[in-house]
């Protein structure tokens, strides 16, 4: 029997519909909305929201400044702790962080809109390019930062503020890392990632060199010799394997690659979209690829995840977003094998159960979901093939770089942060904090 061709095509929706589907997920607050939202803040002492923020932003402080119309001061309060406070206002899972800790949540199950207020305070700064930070007198030192993502840029900005020169070696053709290539398009519209990068670099003293990959164009040993210190913010460059039959069929794709193409596409309607899409995984990436596929016009999108709702890496809000976007989430199923001949046609799945010992086991019942495209979103790992020798001497644990509380690695003069380190958690806000802490530690060492 002749195999049916996969139904993959572009232009499923017209441009106007796609523009609507990829409009701002959380539209910005107007001034009057912001003032009312700000008024709900109780100005807590030793505020739980600040404790919950990985970068420790003084949240009641910046909200108080919104309340008094001191927007520039509010933005400074945010950005001095988190130079990517603009992006974090858009992409942070606030429902799991600051807003989960808000005492208003305790009081009335509706937290202060901290994320939206943070965006309200910071948007004008990026729109107008208002300089809020100055460089200290030059130290005469130069630091190599490997990676142009949130960790690297945060580190570079802080180092520049502290008076050091920085060279950023960036793998991609544009800086920004996952902010530029990895986040769902409806969370960061109007090229915000590049506008934020431009703002960060506008402090001066940061030389970004694109298309420079560690292990190919540069190596760690040389950097250690040539620079006064090195920061590694290389992210997780390769994708985990499913380790099942037929993983190499055409139509089996890495979610992060497709998301990157989507983010870089000038015309999203030109992207190829499957009629039937299956996403394997339970994190933010799984949600991002599933929702975006649906919004590009996919007919049926299923997420399959081997554990339950509570164990999903994606927050409740993200899961609801998927479901209200028309995505079906299947819990407690795991892939058995992929089906198809040269091109993928479906996936065979098996029910899982959690044993008393906490281990997951698959029971007999299996079923098949037809698919034109299957996206793998089961996590990334350090690109140890490329970095192989480079990582020699770096202490690793479960494939990630081991760092101490100041983000120092086991190698002298080498710090690291972001997703590539043990404790990295796939959040922009955490990566920014790592970069900031490392920069402060590097500064201390360079001046000692």
């Amino acid at each position: 029997m002749a195999r049916q061709q996969p139904n993959i095509q572009s232009g499923r929706l017209d441009k106007a519909e796609i523009d609507g589907n990829f409009a701002d997920l959380h539209p910005p607050l107007s001034r009057s909305e912001a003032l009312i939202a700000a008024d709900r803040c109780y100005f807590c002492y030793d505020a739980p929201c600040t404790t919950a923020c990985p970068t420790g932003i003084d949240i009641p402080g910046f909200i108080q400044k919104i309340r008094s119309d001191n927007i520039r001061g509010s933005a400074h309060t945010i950005l001095r702790e988190n130079i990517m406070g603009g992006m974090c206002a858009r992409v942070c899972p606030t429902e799991d962080l600051c807003e989960a800790a808000c005492v208003r949540y305790t009081h009335e199950e509706k937290p202060v809109d901290i994320g939206l207020l943070q965006r309200y305070a910071t948007d004008p700064i990026f729109a107008q390019g208002t300089a809020l930070f100055e460089r200290n007198d030059s130290s005469g030192k130069t630091v190599a930062v490997v990676g142009g993502g949130p960790a690297g840029l945060s580190c570079a900005h802080r180092l520049s503020m502290l008076g050091h020169d920085v060279v950023v070696f960036n793998r991609d053709s544009k800086p920004g890392g996952l902010n530029e290539y990895g986040i769902a398009a409806y969370k960061t519209i109007d090229d915000f990632a590049q506008r934020e990068v431009d703002y960060i670099l506008s402090i001066g003293g940061i030389d970004v060199r694109n298309n420079m990959t560690l292990g190919a164009d540069i190596n760690l040993a040389d950097l250690r010799n040539e620079y006064d210190a090195v920061f590694l913010g290389v992210g997780l460059g390769s994708v985990n394997e499913l380790g099942i039959e037929n993983e190499d069929l055409a139509g089996v794709e890495n979610a992060i690659d497709y998301i990157a193409d989507l983010r870089q596409a000038d015309d999203k309607s030109a992207l190829p979209v499957g009629e039937r899409v299956v996403v394997i995984g339970g994190g933010m990436t799984a949600i991002d690829i599933a929702v975006q596929s649906k919004r590009l016009g996919a007919g049926r999108v299923d997420i399959v995840y081997r554990r339950g709702r509570a164990q999903m890496g994606a927050s409740d809000f993200e899961q609801e977003l998927a479901q209200t976007s028309g995505v079906t989430i299947h819990h407690w199923v795991q892939p058995v094998r992929l089906l198809g001949d040269r091109t993928v046609s479906g996936i065979e799945l098996q029910k899982t159960t959690l044993g008393d010992d906490g281990k997951l086991s698959a029971s007999g019942a299996t079923f098949v979901l037809d698919a034109d495209i299957i996206f793998k979103a089961i996590g990334q790992k350090l690109d140890d093939n490329k970095l192989g020798e480079e990582l020699d001497g770096l202490a690793l644990e479960r494939g990630k770089i081991v760092v101490d509380e100041s983000q120092a690695t086991s190698l002298d003069n080498v710090w690291a942060g972001g997703d590539c380190v043990v404790g990295g958690d796939d959040l922009t806000v955490s990566a920014v904090q790592h970069g900031k802490i490392a920069a402060i530690a590097i500064d201390r060492q360079l001046r000692s």
Partner: protein
């Protein structure tokens, strides 16, 4: 249902809520709408001599807003009526004819000249108005011409002008007092001595709302220049309540009926005024902010409240709280209270802790056994009520009397016998007990 009928100076009105003399009572059109909405009476916008005064043609009002733009305080530079006297008199006469069950009071302001008063008072009384209210309170514009607050700030003038009015009038005379004085009792006493049948208070307070942050001029202005106005609205209520209570509890003025004015926005505000000695109340700002419909909540809420308290009429509420107002020197210094935080209601915002820590007596914990936990330290608590005042959760922190045992702060036994400053050993002027 409690009886809301009000008999103020034998002037009947179906409820004790009158609209104060102000823009809402400027003309028949507004007053008809007010009576249709259910207001008990009006004090007509202050009448003056012909030719009428003129108002500015720019901003008359400005407001103190909360962030959600709720009006907390309100400022105005409007003067008395700017319409010919006869127009007002014709309309008042018609209104009184059309609404015989409502109170219509004529607010008046004339120059300091007895002939003027004896000329105008009978003309106005002829409209059928129920009473006069003498505007000795307007603090802007008219006071520059020796009227309004310029009279109300000098007790001798109050008495003299009140006498002129009383001589010419056969209906009751209410004297409206200005709060722009250091002590409200002498002006009230002067009104009484001049023969006033009642006082009404407060008029507005001298005020400038703010500056314009762009131009660094005061705000608002008329062609770049501004002048102080009269402040009113919710923000002034506590000032008004104190003045009403002072007149009510002072032996020299206690007999004066009072029409209470100042920031009344809902029925609870009215309860405050009535319980502190006002016999009825007047409202302006709330109507100017929300329209006449607020009368529904004012009357309904007051009626429900009286029912809940087992009071059959407004008169039974009047003055209930006056005996609880005294001088500081008579407060019982042996009485001890401590704050108690209800841990089930506490949302752990920490505001009680930080205000006590920074500005009071370090009497609330931040952590207990390493956990975020806010609890009163009785050994430090002076019972000041600051934590209760700042707590965002209603009834989460309450004050409890310590009636026996030891005061943990002082280590002294609780003394149940009352003792105040007048006999305190630290008082060099103490009376021997």
């Amino acid at each position: 249902m409690a009886d809301l009928t009000s008999e103020f100076l034998n002037i009947s009105s179906p409820n004790p809520f009158w609209l104060a003399s102000a823009p809402p009572t400027d003309k028949a059109y507004n007053v008809n709408r007010a009576f249709e909405a259910g207001w008990g009476g009006v004090v007509w916008k202050t009448l003056g001599e012909d030719p009428p005064i003129v108002n500015v043609n720019g901003p008359r009002y400005s407001a103190l807003h909360s962030n959600e733009r709720r009006v907390i305080g309100f400022n105005n530079i409007e003067l008395i009526t700017d319409r010919p006297l006869q127009t007002n008199l014709d309309e008042m006469r018609q209104i009184k004819r059309d609404w015989p069950d409502r109170a219509v009071v004529a607010s008046v302001m004339f120059s300091m000249n007895e002939e003027t008063w004896s000329k105008y008072v009978p003309m106005i009384e002829d409209t059928g108005a129920d009473a006069f209210e003498l505007n000795f309170g307007c603090p802007h514009g008219m006071s520059e011409r020796g009227m309004g607050a310029a009279v109300g700030q000098v007790p001798e003038y109050i008495q003299m002008v009140t006498e002129w009015c009383k001589q010419a009038a056969s209906i009751p005379v209410i004297v409206k007092l200005t709060p722009n004085v250091s002590n409200i009792v002498p002006p009230a006493k002067a009104a009484l001595d001049g023969g006033a049948d009642a006082v009404s208070l407060i008029n507005t307070i001298n005020s400038i709302m703010r500056v314009d942050y762009d131009t660094l001029t005061m705000y608002p202005t008329t062609d770049g220049m501004g002048t102080h106005g009269g402040y009113c609205g919710e923000a002034v209520k506590p000032i008004a309540l104190n003045m009403v209570a002072e007149i009510s509890r002072n032996a020299e003025t206690a007999e004066l009926p009072i029409s209470g004015i100042g920031g009344i926005t809902n029925w609870r505000d009215a309860v405050d005024f009535l319980a502190l000695g006002a016999d009825n109340v007047q409202v302006c700002t709330a109507a100017m902010v929300y329209g006449f419909k607020i009368i529904d909540d004012l009357t309904d809420g007051l009626s429900m409240f009286l029912d809940d308290k087992g009071l059959k009429s407004v008169a039974e509420l009047v003055g209930k709280a006056v005996p609880s107002v005294t001088d500081w020197q008579y407060l019982n210094l042996n009485y001890v209270e401590k704050a108690v935080i209800d841990q089930d209601l506490c949302i752990k915002c920490g505001r009680c802790h930080i205000v006590c820590e920074d500005t009071s007596h370090q009497a609330i914990t931040q952590t207990v056994n390493g956990e975020r936990h806010f609890q009163v330290i009785d050994e430090e608590c002076i019972g000041c009520n600051l934590c209760v005042s700042v707590c965002p959760v209603d009834s989460c922190i309450t004050m409890h009397a310590v009636t026996e045992g030891i005061d943990a702060r002082t280590g002294q036994a609780i003394v149940t016998k009352s003792a105040n400053w007048t006999t305190h050993p630290n008082n060099p002027m103490r009376k021997e007990g």
